[in-house]
């Protein structure tokens, strides 16, 4: 059974059709990277997978549950899908530890000790356990994003979604976040990642989706999509991203 199955997904914002019939699957344990120019709909696709955006039509099945079914318990479905945002979105009024425990306690009804144990394990995993008692505003962007990853992991998700997780970071902080993601991948986490980090996609992804204009133009293993793209649009995009100075229009 696929972890995520997307069938003929359409999404419009007013007159603007952002997704124009997307079909994609993420197998269990797979890392799928979505690449493409801005405005291609890749973030919208990701946000549809946990219904932060409501699709206009199409089907999304996450671990056997059809979340696009109007009768689906969306809160229950989201519990099994972790999400990491570009802007981290840590809860500013809570300490790092409370950021990780609040949903465990309020949603999963874990007791305090249990939730804190899980939280500390995950903070340890991403290397910010020493920051458990401070407020997010005092952390660097890289630390905040690692806390955000730990927060999502604390819910025990079956799938992790990453929406351009390094795009808001200073260049020297990108590595620490990608390192954590790489580690998650080797542990067998199912991941759907929207990213501009071609190096990461090439080395970590099992599959790469290239999107442009609301459709999947090309998909396959990175050795194919990134190293030997077949479509003209993919080639143009990669040329610009990989060699931004001598970009060929």
């Amino acid at each position: 059974m696929s972890a995520v199955q997307i069938i003929d997904l359409h999404k419009s914002f007013g007159d603007l059709e952002v997704l124009r019939g997307i079909d994609a699957t993420v197998e269990s344990g797979e890392v799928v990277c979505v690449i493409g120019p801005s405005g291609s709909g890749k973030s919208t696709l990701l946000r549809c997978v946990n219904l932060l955006e409501q699709p206009n039509s199409g089907t999304i099945v996450v671990n056997g549950a059809e979340i696009t079914d109007p009768d689906c318990d969306i809160n229950a479905a989201r519990r099994r899908v972790g999400m990491v945002f570009q802007q981290f979105n840590l809860f500013q009024h809570l300490t790092v530890l409370d950021n990780l425990t609040i949903a465990q306690r309020k949603v999963l009804k874990r007791d305090k000790a249990d939730a804190e144990r899980t939280a500390m394990e995950n903070l340890e995993k991403v290397g910010v356990a020493d920051k458990a008692r401070v407020y997010p505003a005092t952390l660097s962007g890289g630390q905040q994003q690692r806390v955000a990853i730990a927060r999502a992991l604390s819910m025990g998700p079956e799938v992790m979604l990453f929406d351009e997780p390094t795009s808001a970071l200073d260049p020297e902080l990108v590595g620490e976040v990608l390192g954590v993601m790489r580690q998650l991948a080797t542990e067998g986490m199912t991941m759907l990642v929207v990213t501009h980090e071609m190096q990461f996609a090439r080395e970590v992804a099992d599959k790469v989706l290239f999107m442009d204009g609301g459709v999947v133009v090309e998909q396959g293993p990175p050795s194919q999509v990134i190293a030997a793209p077949r479509h003209e649009r993919t080639k143009t995009f990669l040329a610009r991203v990989l060699d931004p100075i001598n970009r060929s229009e």
Partner: protein
Amino acid sequence: MSHGQEAGPAPRARLSPRKRQRISRGVQYAVFAAVVVAVALAADWKAVVENFADLDVAKEAFPELITIALKNTVIYTLSAYVVGFVLGLVVALMRLSSIAVYRGVALAYIEVFRGLPALVVFLIFGFGLPVAFPGMKFPFDQYGTVAVALGLVASAYMAETFRAGIQAVPRGQMEAARSLGMSHTRAMVSIIIPQALRIVIPPLTNELILLFKDSSLVFVLGVTSLTTELSKFGGDLATEYADSTPLVLAGAAYLVITLPLGYVVRRLEAKQQKAR
């Protein structure tokens, strides 16, 4: 070349900007001082002291000024503040609801109670409601009526403050909460409202100051010697002794409460400015 200065360097101003500014400032201070002195000389100080600072009359105002009047003002204000706070939060949430009916009701409520003078609301409560609902009584008598009437007025303003605060919390906070499986309500309670409250503490404290002053309108409901508040108390005593000293004392009692609150607001605002 008859105009030699056209070719030469610009003529030096007779006064530098700095000097001009200093002179202008000096004139402003002089005018201000002159006005103060003129007012001070024109006033009949003997009459002022007699009428506004008569110690014998002042003695008569104590201890009731504190034990009854100030106490009641504080009770009226705080109880109305609690009612206004709870009601305001509810109305703000209705105003932001996805359900159009709730939004409409909340908007109408805010517009009506924000538009009506507090005095009119008090008159309606004091004399309109007993006619419409004979036998109806608020709990705690006068205290209950004031808490509800003044609370309604306050809640309209507080609802708008809460709404602004909730909208000032970045959208990503709600998205993050929802992505962790929280329901909309749970996310509001645990994530959004706590952050919104932090944002609106300074304006809400201002609202408390305004409410202290509005509590003086209780007099239109008719108060007894036990339920009187600062303004009414001061006014009555001033009439009794034909001397304004009690009013000065009542005014001072308001300031004893509002000045520290004003200080707290400034501190909180400065703190928020720094946190940004």
